[in-house]
C-alpha cells in the first residue's frame, strides 16, 4: 500500500484535534491511510444523550462520523489544496453505545471524482464486529480553478 505523505499525516492530526468542534469533543486521531481515516471520541459526562443509561449522545456520533468522513476525503485527495462541503449524510443507528463508552469511527472514501467524493463509515464502541452506527456521505470538492486549457 502507498505510504501516506507526511503532509497528509500532519493534516489528519490537525483535522482530528484542532478543528474547534473536534477539539471540544476531545477527538483523537487513530489512523490515516490513502482514502481512509479513523478517529476516536472519548466518553464524557457532559456529552451524555440519555441520562438514564449514561450513553453518549447520538449528536456526538454524528459529529464523529461527519468528521471521519471528511478525513477520509482529505486523505484521498492527498496533497492537493482544496476545501470540501458535505452534501448529505445518512446515519443508521443499529444500537446505543455501551454506558460510559467512547466511540471509534472509521471511514473509507471509495470513490473520488474531480468534484464529488463518496464515503462510507462505521462506528463502534467496544467490538468492531458489533457496530453501533453506519454512515454514507457525499461531499463536494472545491478545487482551486484549473489553469487555462485544462478541463
Amino acid at each position: 500500500m502507498a505510504e501516506v505523505p507526511e503532509i497528509v499525516r500532519q493534516m489528519a492530526e490537525h483535522m482530528a484535534t484542532t478543528v474547534p468542534q473536534a477539539a471540544s469533543l476531545g477527538f483523537k486521531l487513530v489512523s490515516v491511510d490513502v482514502g481512509r481515516g479513523s478517529i476516536r471520541a472519548p466518553w464524557r459526562e457532559d456529552l451524555v444523550g440519555d441520562p438514564d443509561t449514561e450513553v453518549i449522545a447520538g449528536g456526538v456520533v454524528t459529529s464523529l462520523l461527519d468528521h471521519t468522513c471528511g478525513l477520509a476525503m482529505a486523505s484521498a485527495a492527498g496533497t492537493e489544496a482544496f476545501s470540501t462541503a458535505t452534501l448529505d449524510l445518512r446515519i443508521d443507528y443499529m444500537r446505543p453505545a455501551a454506558p460510559r463508552a467512547g466511540v471509534i469511527a472509521e471511514a473509507h472514501c471509495y470513490k473520488l471524482t474531480r468534484t464529488i467524493g463518496f464515503v462510507r463509515a462505521e462506528a463502534w464502541d467496544v467490538d468492531k464486529s458489533d457496530l453501533i452506527a453506519t454512515a454514507q456521505a457525499a461531499f463536494v470538492l472545491n478545487r482551486p480553478r484549473p489553469p487555462e486549457g485544462r478541463s
Binding site: D46, G49, P96
Partner: protein, 138 residues
Amino acid sequence: MTRPAEQLETFLQRVPYVRFLGMHAELAGDEMTAILLFSPHLVGNTFIQALHGGVIGAFLEMTALAQLSVAQPSPRVHKTIDITIEYLRPGRALTSYARADLRKVGRRIANVHVEAWQDDRAQPFAALRGHFLLSAGA
C-alpha cells in the same frame, strides 16, 4: 407553565448534551422552535467560521427528539433509528433556528422532517429526515 412546555423543559434540562450544544427551545401552542446560539466550539471550518456539519446534524436530530418529547411524552428518551441530513448552505456564525414536522407518528415509529434556518426562514441551510423508535408513554 403548560404541560407541553413542562415536558419540553424536562427533556431539554435532562440531557447533558443539549447543554453542551447550547440549545434551547420556545413553544407557541404545540409548535416548537429550537434555537442554537452560535458558539466558537461549534465551528467546523475556521476559514469561513462555519458550523460543523455534525453540529448541524445533531441540532436537527435534537430538534426532532424535543418535538417528539412534546407530542409523545415518555419518561425515557426516544431513540433515533436513522437520519438523512441534507446540507444546503454553510451554517454561518449566527443564531440558528429549527422546526420539526411530525409527518407520521405511529404506535412505535415516528417519521420526522426538520428544517433549519438562520436569518431568513425561506432560505433553510439544512434539513433532516429521520425515523425514531418511540419509548413507552408516561
